[in-house]
Subunit: 295 residues, 2 copies
């Protein structure tokens, strides 16, 4: 049975009750249009906590002017069906006015890692993310919150925000989920025509190539980036925005790849802006010690 809350007060009452019953609380923040990637987050939360909250909120603060806030899909009934099937305890689907009431004036702002990669093309985007995540943490007070490694920059920003503001929530990063054809799951894949989707697969292929070359011992970040760029350029209809070869925690550009690396891309295909990445940790220590625990 998934309860549905529209107000902050309802969430707090439900969480209070769950805590009184001795449950740990897990939060999966989403913008809805739940797909296999979200389901993997929900299952991780279900595994690790006794009371799972999924927030479904298309957050206006993280969309820029001219972006797809108005047209972003909002299939609430289907999303609640997914929540019910996955045993979610509480779905929180507030109106924008519940989250940003009249007089709202506060932003959680981060310098540095928010200004590059997706942040360069989407100024203010990560402030919008940090702000709504801080709010959701204040509302739900979860023990742990679950984010996809697909949104690698978002995950790094949320981890930094939690560290900087000493937010008492454990952040769990969960592996990127791909459809059978290799495309990273995304609500925005719905914007792709069949032909565009075929072309978009080059992102995955180029990144899989990068992963292979790094596993084979390549440590020169520029050679990795150039090869990804070349493969994507060879495919028509895929407009590359960036290739980044960075440390996955600090998002600082790497020259030489050390113990861990994030290779991330963003590209426009038709009307969709797509992101994808590969993440390798523990390169110096392939036994797996020193790797960040993922779910």
């Amino acid at each position: 049975m998934t309860a549905v809350a529209g107000t902050i007060e309802e969430v707090r009452a439900a969480v209070r009750k769950a805590r009184a019953a001795g449950h740990r609380v897990g939060l999966v923040p989403t913008m809805g249009t739940l797909h296999a990637g979200h389901v993997s987050l929900i299952r991780a939360a279900r595994n690790e906590t006794g009371f799972v909250v999924v927030s479904i909120f298309v957050n206006p603060a993280q969309f820029g002017p001219g972006e797809d806030y108005e047209t972003y899909p909002r299939p609430l009934e289907e999303d609640l069906e997914v929540c019910r099937a996955e045993g979610v305890d509480l779905a929180f689907a507030p109106d924008a006015s519940e989250m940003y009431p009249s007089g709202f004036a506060t932003t959680v702002h981060m310098t540095g890692m928010t200004e590059k990669m997706c942040g360069a093309a989407r100024p203010g985007h990560f402030d919008g993310v940090s702000t709504v995540v801080a709010k959701l943490f204040g509302i739900v007070e979860p023990d742990a919150a679950y984010f996809g490694e697909k949104d690698a920059q978002q995950l790094a920003v949320v981890r930094r925000m939690v560290r900087d503001l000493n937010v008492p929530v454990e952040i769990r990063g969960c592996s990127l989920v791909r459809d059978a054809d290799g495309l990273a799951t995304s609500s925005r894949n719905a914007y792709l025509s069949a032909d565009e989707r075929q072309r978009a697969l080059v992102l995955h292929r180029a990144l899989a190539g990068a992963r292979q070359r790094i596993s084979d011992g390549e440590r020169d970040a520029k050679r990795i980036a150039d090869e990804v760029r070349r493969q994507i350029a060879d495919t028509g209809g895929v407009n590359l925005e960036y290739v980044a070869v960075v440390d996955p925690d600090s998002l600082e550009d790497l020259t030489e790849i050390g113990n861990q690396v994030l290779v991330a891309v963003a590209a426009r295909v038709g009307s969709a802006r797509l992101i994808d990445n590969v993440l390798l940790r523990g390169l110096r220590d392939r036994g797996g010690k020193g790797r960040k625990k993922t779910c």
Copy 2:
């Protein structure tokens, strides 16, 4: 017995233990140099909660260039003596590097009410306050936190931040405390010579006059402000920075005084920047119903 913690981990461990023992937790955030105003906050916390934490931290983020960060007094031993005398359970006195470690990049930023009054002369000041208060709330996770109404703008900003970010902490505002001569207690009063202190008393006298006129029925905000301004101008050596007649919650300028009003001033006397105010609530309802509960 006041325990003293220098690290975030020590605070969290102590608070966890207090919670396990069933205590509510109260936080009094301070920059040290504890005076009678702080003591009133500690006593309110002591009255209302079972475990009282006093943070003592001269927060660099709320000082501007050329302000008194370097010279601000830091009499830690005397402050701990006050904590012991008042039965504080835990004093948290971190180094700046514990609060702002390498790579720190996050600011809680607020528009609007932060840009006027003290914010006009101290750009960035209230972002520094909001950020450190958000951090302290994340570290201590208090049930209630205690702030002086003397710092009226700070109190309004903290309340707005808590509302906007849904921080699960009750904010308690405690009445301004005056020394016997009427000067509002402040760590910066130590900067005043005996002559400067005599001159500074005009702030209190002018505000007491404003309170009297409002109680007598004056509702024209400009007349109130002009009269305060005139009295202060008549005193040599007191350089008025602003007189504000505003709503105490929104800090919006009033034309006509309604149910509640904050009359606030800032002035330089010698090397000290002093603030003072009077706060009247429930003007339409003098029985006291509708007043905000203070401690």
